[in-house]
Each structure stands twice: as structure tokens, then as C-alpha cells.
């Protein structure tokens, strides 16, 4: 199930689709975070960013593994290394280049907050045992990612003039990519009918409230919702950045596909 614009019909197709959406978000996010290794603003934060990146790639790997089992693919690497950018279902925000620490933190915060509510509700909804087990395990780590990024938003927002300027402009630049978080498409509706996904719009207000309160506590302005919103990445229509990211990520594996690399 990875052709553009195809809506899953069976329950299993829906499950695979959901696993890949969650997995792609996490792989691409983890990839960008991993670029910080060795370049963090302080040693302790280098360790922290790597921890989040490891969690993200780890989550992606187990989600993909399950999808591979369902689809009869060889393993998790199939989804990471042998799909093209139009097959990837991650939201666009996560593929944007890392820019600076403020941008990374703002992105991390917006996405962690989204993941927090999504996983919280998925755990109550998903009946598939293996999938639910994963969700519960990953939820613990997501809570920590949210805490870590939220604390940093407060520090950067209410820190120095420079940090405030940087984190404010990060939120401003990222805002047009937040609309996509709550775009509900037919694929999601199909998954919802099988109790494999939840209506993301149902927690949009809670997400907004958390973001708003955090930004206000950080003495930041909440960007205007009434602006152009990017959409389409879940369906394979990405920014230009994803292609470059994948070119880098996949080149070695694709150059020697028959070699053993695990």
C-alpha cells in the first residue's frame, strides 16, 4: 500500500497505512534530529537530542517491522530505504532542514504535543494488540520529549532578546505547516472505521490550548492561524527537502541492494 492517492480498502491495508504514517513521521524527524550529533549547543543537550532521535528512529523501526510482517516484505528497512519521496507519508514540517536550535526545539515541541494527544487517544481506541503495545511503550517516551521541548520553549522565549527573536521566528516559519497536522483525509476515515486511528480534529483544541499556553508563558506571540497552510504531504506531495534527505539516507543501501547491511 504505497501508491499515491489510493485509499485502503481492507482492515489490514488500513493498519499498514497507519503504521507507515506514524513510522514515516518518526523516521524523518529522527533523521533531522540525528544531524545534531556532535554539533549541539552544549554536551548535555547533544546527549538529549540524540536520545530523542534514537527514540524516534526506534519507534519507526518497530512500526515498519510490523507493517513488513503484514505485507510480507523482508523487514523494516524496506520502507526506509526502498520507497520514493512520493511514497512517504510524513507531515512536511518534519522534513524541513534543521536551521538552528530554536527551530529544532519549536518543531520538536509542536510535533511532540501533537503526538502526545494522538497516542493518548490511539491507546484507547486501537484493538490490535501488537500495535497497541507499541503505542503504550512509545507514549512514555513521547511524554518526556514533550516535557523536554516545552521547557526549552520557555527558556528560549523568556531568555535573552536574541533567543526570543530566534524562537519567535521559528514558530512563525513553522506555522504554515501546522495545518496539515489536522487535515483529515479518506485514508484516515477508513482507518477510523476499523478502530485503527482517531479523528485528529477531536483534539485540535486541546493541542491549540497547550501550544497557546506554552507560548504565552514563554512571552511569545501565537502566530496567526489565518494564513496559507501547506497540505498534501501525507498523500505524498512533499517539500523539495524530502528528496534531498532521502537521497542521502538511501544512497548506500540502494547502491548495493544485494549486500548484507544489518
Amino acid at each position: 500500500m504505497s501508491t499515491l492517492d489510493t485509499i485502503p480498502k481492507t482492515k489490514q491495508e488500513s493498519l499498514v497505512e497507519v503504521l507507515l504514517r506514524l513510522g514515516d513521521d518518526r523516521l524523518i524527524h529522527g533523521h533531522r534530529l540525528s544531524e545534531w550529533a556532535g554539533h549541539g549547543p552544549e554536551l548535555e543537550e547533544d546527549l538529549a537530542l540524540a536520545n530523542v532521535a534514537l527514540d524516534m528512529i526506534g519507534h519507526a523501526s518497530s512500526l515498519y517491522s510490523y507493517a513488513a510482517k503484514l505485507e510480507g516484505k523482508q523487514d523494516e528497512d524496506h520502507y526506509a530505504y526502498f520507497r520514493d519521496d512520493i511514497d512517504f507519508k510524513n507531515i512536511a514540517m518534519l522534513e524541513l532542514p534543521r536551521v538552528d536550535f530554536a527551530f529544532t526545539i519549536a518543531k520538536q515541541f509542536l510535533f511532540s504535543a501533537f503526538s502526545y494527544f494522538l497516542y493518548r487517544d490511539l491507546i484507547d481506541t486501537v484493538e490490535d494488540e501488537q500495535f497497541n503495545g507499541m503505542l503504550q511503550k512509545h507514549f512514555k517516551e513521547i511524554k518526556y520529549h514533550l516535557r523536554h521541548s516545552r521547557e526549552w520553549v520557555l527558556r528560549l522565549g523568556d531568555g535573552t532578546e536574541e533567543s526570543k527573536k530566534r524562537i519567535q521566528s521559528a514558530f512563525n516559519d513553522l506555522w504554515m505547516y501546522t495545518g496539515e497536522l489536522f487535515d483529515q483525509d479518506d485514508t484516515e476515515k477508513a482507518a477510523i472505521s476499523h478502530n485503527l486511528y482517531v479523528d485528529v480534529t477531536s483534539f485540535k483544541e486541546e493541542w491549540m490550548k497547550l501550544v497557546k499556553e506554552t507560548l504565552e508563558e514563554a512571552t511569545l506571540d501565537v502566530p496567526d492561524n489565518d494564513q496559507y497552510m501547506f497540505s498534501g504531504a501525507r498523500g505524498g506531495r512533499h517539500t523539495e527537502h524530502l528528496g534531498h534527505l532521502l537521497a542521502e539516507m538511501q544512497f548506500l543501501r540502494r547502491s548495493y541492494p544485494d549486500a548484507e547491511w544489518k
Binding site: 552544549e42 554536551l43 548535555e44 543537550e45 546527549l47 538529549a48 536520545n51 518526556y144 516535557r147 523536554h148 521547557e151 527558556r155
Partner: protein, 100 residues
């Protein structure tokens, strides 16, 4: 680049971790952090990478009061003449020992 800018050296914290539920806390090492919340998070990110600890204490390093080597005599000697305080002072019947 402004060198030796003391303003931005984060203070040092001593980290103590509890290896398992019910076990006493042990010294793990230290971290730099701007405040207590970040010190806790940094402690977790640094010293629990392999699940070494389930809980942490962080204490500003300058708040630790340590005995000095000169204290060693008067501080710790008194117990030396109270061997009955140490379990090795007591012999255990062979039958009991065996069961361990």
C-alpha cells in the same frame, strides 16, 4: 567571539541515581545545567542511557559538604573500637551458613 564569558557557564550539579526500586541512591557523576529542572533532565539523558537508574536526585555541587582528609582520624575512628557494630563480629552456626 567573546572568550571567558562566565555568564554562560552553566553551574555544576551532582547526580545521584537509584539503580532499582528500594535501593539506596548512589553517586552517578555530575552534569552542567542552568537550573534544577534541566539538571534533572540532563541527569536522565546522561546517566540513564542504559536504564541504569529509575530515579534521580540532583544537588548543586557547591552545596555538597564533604569531609576533608584531615577529618579521617577523629571522624571515623570511634567505630573502630566497637567491633560489635559489624556483622563480621558474629559467627553464624555452620548449618545456617550452608543454607545461603
Amino acid at each position: 567571539m567573546n572568550k571567558k564569558n562566565q555568564k554562560t557557564e552553566w553551574p555544576l550539579w551532582e547526580v545521584f541515581y537509584q539503580p532499582k526500586d528500594g535501593k539506596p541512591f548512589e553517586h552517578a557523576g555530575s552534569v552542567h545545567a542552568p537550573d534544577a529542572e534541566m539538571a534533572l533532565q540532563n541527569a536522565r539523558d546522561t546517566y540513564a542511557r542504559r536504564n541504569e537508574g529509575i530515579a534521580f536526585w540532583v544537588v548543586p555541587s557547591d552545596q555538597i559538604v564533604a569531609s576533608t582528609p584531615e577529618d579521617v582520624g577523629p571522624f571515623f575512628d570511634p567505630a573502630n573500637d566497637k567491633p560489635y557494630r559489624h556483622p563480621q563480629f558474629y559467627s553464624v552456626p555452620r548449618a545456617v551458613k550452608k543454607r545461603k
